[in-house]
Symmetry: C2
Subunit: 394 residues, 2 copies
């Protein structure tokens, strides 16, 4: 097991009606003028935005709003947000939405607090931020875990690059309000994609080639089983509060670092492969991950079949095979069956992408940063490996 | 399930040689003059204290030391620490030890930062602290979870009252350094007591009479299984790094709030019953808990046999009984067998206390705050109930 650091300073306020505390919470953090950052019209139509604005008014807090965040959030809106914050002397950003909105808020927070460079340099990892505007979250999609994480993933729509920022704890939200009821109206496809994303945040940390902490393994397995149990319930009963709560809390715990304690920096190859897809073809992140995972798993499992067999046994109750290899493969198949059961794709065709070999060659070239990097740690993957996996996933 | 808040701002630095970072860490938090607070001579003899002092000197940080913290830490030393901190203009407290040292440090931190009242008033819950000196921890005993918790339990040796302070997040340590190797030299009895304490922090939250979050249940069960698996290993191999690491990380996670998400405020009756024992008879906390738990469990399980049956099944692999009641009782017995297997007592005799009925009557009277409070939530217990449980545990 590796040495590790664990730092999750975000205060979670979880449950019914908790979003009504927004104004008083912001006040307790000393916020004077807030940017309310959100996505599409659902926050407006549902009345959520109005409730939040009322809460801020009652607490005597000024605000301006900036909507329009799209999935795979755009650098251009972040630039617009940075200018708006500077003009309006914003001292706190309130992200109302899911991972895209939170990641966009983090980009704005970095941009405002680090005027000495262009914000995109943090995503190109040419520079590291030294500060960030404080961020609060009202979560409306359980998926990204961005409400507790140090991640921000943004798409430069001009260059079609989808990139994660340099990791710092500066952008971890000060607080996150998690009211499962706010996720009731999510369409099934978004709900299912979110569940895959949650699972993958733990799986990327779980599939490593080293001695791990038994407690981290068992917490991870418990978390994955919870999501696998509750995701199908949500396909049938989108307004099941309990199931929404299970998935929502799993989402935060899956990406706050808990499931990576002692497992080094994890694998993350699937995320890198998906980021390239998302940047170029603008697919839904979780669905993109589901479409790639099985191919990645079959490509790499021979490095350590025992790890995949443990996953099969402890997460999916599969242990009837004659050896680790058989159980590993049966587990991968069972996971793909699970993805299918919640109407998620297990290949690029099912994701709606019909790519030529040339397009796949280009994807791998991009994903390898023009043949200059490898990805993954369970098995290190070069451009050639990436191309093979994309092809297997076709 | 209940709404909940979850706030664990303590930065964990876990692993080999991590204590050598102490000086630079303190510097990063802006510490100028530090109180190094510790217990007995083991920190001196082992050379740990010297390593830490060297680390501080290298970082250019001044310090004074205050040792002598005993198990069930004394109010008098806290008062001494408060005066010392004021005289020396201390701005950061470094606790080097286990729960007693950390709890003592929290008492000092509260006392220095709240000169408007006597510090014991926070433990009598007459007042609530509004501030606390920042605290860092180098953990040498895996048990209390105080390194991430908002708890501080102190004994007023004049009145023989052992009391927990008003809960605030102010005293949660800024950082905690967890190096499993620093726990290698703990005697088996302390190691086993620590394991019981860790288990009980989760069990006190787990045994509740309400709908719980499935994810909290399964994380709690995973944590308890890890401790039950590794505690016997440590009885045989006290210098098993991996097993020490499992137990150490379980200790922090068990009391930082994670295992109580959605379970309300938990039960805590066993802790209250043990606090009275500890205050009057100065027993080791974990051993005291082990001596009481089975009696408490048999007294209350009928309120919800299903919960105890779930514990028996998911934590102890016991599910052969004809009904919940049988499985519940088999689970309680199996837990006591586990306590015995690590040489922990399951009654007061085995704890070394041979109490008269009058002494037990007096304990219950004290534990009920002279018949003015009930304890517990799984089943609310009045003075009469407490007396019965103490008698069952004789």
């Amino acid at each position: 097991m590796k040495n590790f650091e664990y730092f999750t300073p975000t205060k979670i306020i979880f449950g019914e009606d908790t979003h009504l505390q927004t104004g008083s919470l912001l006040k307790s953090y000393g916020a004077k003028k807030v940017l309310i950052h959100y996505g599409g019209h659902s926050a407006v139509k549902s009345g959520l935005l109005e409730q939040i604005q009322t809460s801020l008014k009652e607490a005597g807090i000024s605000y301006v709003t900036l909507g329009g965040v799209v999935p795979n959030p755009h650098l251009s809106l972040i630039r617009e947000g940075i200018e708006l914050c500077k003009k309006e002397n914003i001292d706190f950003i309130l992200a109302v939405g899911g991972g895209s909105v939170i990641d966009s808020a983090k980009g704005i927070g970095y941009g405002v607090a680090n005027p000495w460079t262009d914000v995109w340099n943090f995503y190109l990892k040419k520079e590291t931020p030294t500060d960030c505007l404080p961020i609060g979250v009202i979560l409306t999609i359980a998926a990204s875990g961005s409400e507790m994480s140090s991640s921000s993933v943004v798409t430069n729509e001009e260059t079609k690059q989808k990139r994660g920022s340099s990791k710092t704890d500066l952008c971890r939200p000060k607080f996150a309000i998690l009211n499962p009821r706010l996720t009731f109206t999510l369409p099934p496809y978004q709900t299912a994609s979110g569940c895959v994303d949650i699972l993958m945040h733990t799986m990327e940390r779980y599939f490593v080639n080293m001695d791990t902490l038994e407690i981290t393994d068992s917490l991870s397995e418990a978390l994955m089983k919870t999501v696998i149990h509750n995701a199908p319930i949500l396909m049938e009963e989108p307004d099941n509060y309990k199931a929404r709560a299970e998935v929502m809390w799993a989402g935060s715990l899956s990406h706050n670092g808990l499931t990576g304690c002692g497992t080094g920096s994890g694998d993350w190859a699937c995320h890198q492969l998906e980021h390239e897809l998302g940047g170029v073809y603008d697919v839904t992140h979780g669905a993109g991950l589901a479409a790639l995972w099985g191919s990645w798993a079959r490509y790499v499992y021979t490095e350590n079949p025992g790890r995949f067999a443990q996953f099969a046994s402890n997460v999916l109750n599969i242990s009837q095979g004659e050896n680790d290899e058989q159980n590993a493969l049966a587990g991968i198949q069972a996971m793909e069956d699970f993805f299918h059961s919640i109407h998620m794709p297990v290949n690029l065709h099912e994701l709606g992408l019909h790519l030529t070999e040339e397009e796949i060659h280009d994807l791998a070239f991009r994903c390898s940063f023009e043949d200059t990097r490898t990805i993954g740690s369970f098995r290190k993957l070069n451009r050639n490996d990436m191309e093979k996996i994309y092809l297997m996933a076709r």
